[in-house]
Symmetry: C2
Subunit: 306 residues, 2 copies
């Protein structure tokens, strides 16, 4: 089958590290154009304005956005109004209301829209979900601690208002949690630590219903931790390394690995959605983050500089 | 027709001022029980525990909750699990995720649930909506300034985490805005002023799509202001006094008044929903508030004491 033409918008670190290699190996997609102020991909037609690209390349039916949350909306709206399918990096926007508006717009134009959560495609997430189905969870604990200087070097936007701060990685944990749990959860309390010189939190502790807690920290030097553990009626289940390793009672579980990488799996799913003229807009991870900002106690902590 | 039995939970200021008189005059409802730690209503059986009331009075088919947002969820869940219809004061909960969970629970039990927004029932809101339909709005301005000491004397919960602060009245403005506009809006920016000794904002300024702005302030002494103004292709429309007065180009419009008060109209609507086994859970005002907390810049301002 011929590969469908796709344009990639926002050629920064995540595009270069993940999207471009995933597209290069994809049986479904051909990277036909890029849009970016500075970045380009060798051998691919480069635009600096999304309107220009949409006008010049009517044969490009699908656009994938890798922009930070705040500028994402205007670009997304342009894509949908041009009748193209739309794939969104996480989080799908800076606000819930704008993402609802995009969903409505996609419906009105009869195109597919996909709010991606790449961590849900980690190797052991599907196996963890199957293991938890029908089991009763007494207690759960998420520990998500990474070094913002390593993963987002100099990216000041992440600490601006709307930049999400530690919820940028934390929402990955919440995207896995909301995928694998047998029943929905909601926030019952939260504490957010804002550096005195920043508008987004550098650490957060959440209490969720069903005895689940989360500890997010962006100041973790040395070994990085992306773990979650659940005490259940059938023993202790742990999902480690950002959803990639499943352990039952301390033993690594066999046969849980999906073979595909996270971004190749996202692009395969997007191809499925486009073929079925379907959409996938599960906003539950973003709702939990908005709820944490709404309900959370704010602490002011030490200033942070990259 | 016989009046249906209803229980009122949380006998505080809003219950006494609004719910009890509305129920006394209602052709649809009989106030059959109350649940409150301290408050009672003369001549009505009083409980202090909601579980006790639900067990003792199986003939009460509908429960109306007037609790602050944070403790609302546990009571709401108990009502729905007991198979009773549920009416919620605004906002319907402390978090979006818990309100989604309540909606799911109501569906699972086949009962009605109603997230009320009393300001939508103000006299001129319906007329304003009809006037704006099909018109093009160039610019809109909401000014919602009231004195928290007058309307919420000593209510410290309103400035606690999750208490909403100035969004407690501000969400009334947003509930009117989302009702009367011909198309949905989303937040593009916000600034929130937190008193140095409080966990919820005392003032907020919002920028919304379509050139709409909002100015919420809880420190307004003297005359109180609950106004919104829209510059349209057909002239200037103003909705004043919390949705009660409609003006077109500075002239008071005739014939816009709905006769019923806000709370009588809410209880009439609840009776309709229950008869139709239907629900009404428009969360758009709450989404805009959650988005403001997520996206907003935080300023620390002067401490506040009642």
């Amino acid at each position: 089958m011929a590969r469908e033409k796709l344009a990639l918008v926002g050629i920064g670190k995540i595009a270069t590290d993940q999207h471009v290699p995933a597209l290069a190996d994809s049986p479904d997609w051909e990277l036909a154009a890029t849009v970016s102020r500075h970045g380009t991909v060798s051998g691919v037609e480069a635009f600096t304005d999304i309107g220009d690209m949409l006008a010049a390349r009517p044969g490009i039916g699908t656009v994938s956005l890798c922009l930070p949350p705040v500028p994402r909306f205007a670009a997304a709206q342009a894509v949908l109004r041009a009748g193209r399918n739309l794939m969104l990096e996480k989080p799908p926007g800076a606000t819930l209301a704008e993402v609802h508006a995009l969903h409505d717009l996609a419906r009105a134009h009869g195109v597919s829209i996909f709010a991606t959560w790449h961590s849900r495609m980690a190797h052991a997430v599907g196996a963890a979900k199957r293991w938890l189905a029908g089991r009763s969870i007494h207690e759960g604990r998420i520990i998500w601690r990474e070094d913002v200087r390593k993963w987002h070097p100099g990216q000041d936007w992440i600490f601006e208002a709307g930049g999400m701060g530690v919820f940028d990685p934390g929402i990955n944990a919440l995207s896995i949690l909301t995928e694998i749990l047998p029943a929905p959860v909601h926030l019952t309390g939260a504490e957010l630590d804002f550096p005195a010189n920043r508008q987004a939190p550098i650490a957060a502790r959440l209490d969720l219903s069903g005895g689940i807690s989360a500890d997010f920290d962006f100041r973790q030097e040395g070994p990085q931790t992306w773990d979650m553990e659940f005490a259940t009626d059938a023993g202790l289940m742990a999902l480690r390394m950002g959803g990639n390793i499943l352990e039952i009672d301390g033993q690594r579980a066999e046969g849980q690995d999906s073979i595909m990488g996270e971004y190749p799996a996202l692009y395969a799913r997007m191809a499925e959605l486009v073929r079925g003229v379907a959409s996938d807009m599960d906003l539950s991870p973003m709702v939990l983050v908005a709820d944490a900002f709404t309900l959370g106690r704010r602490n002011i902590v030490e200033t942070f500089e990259f």
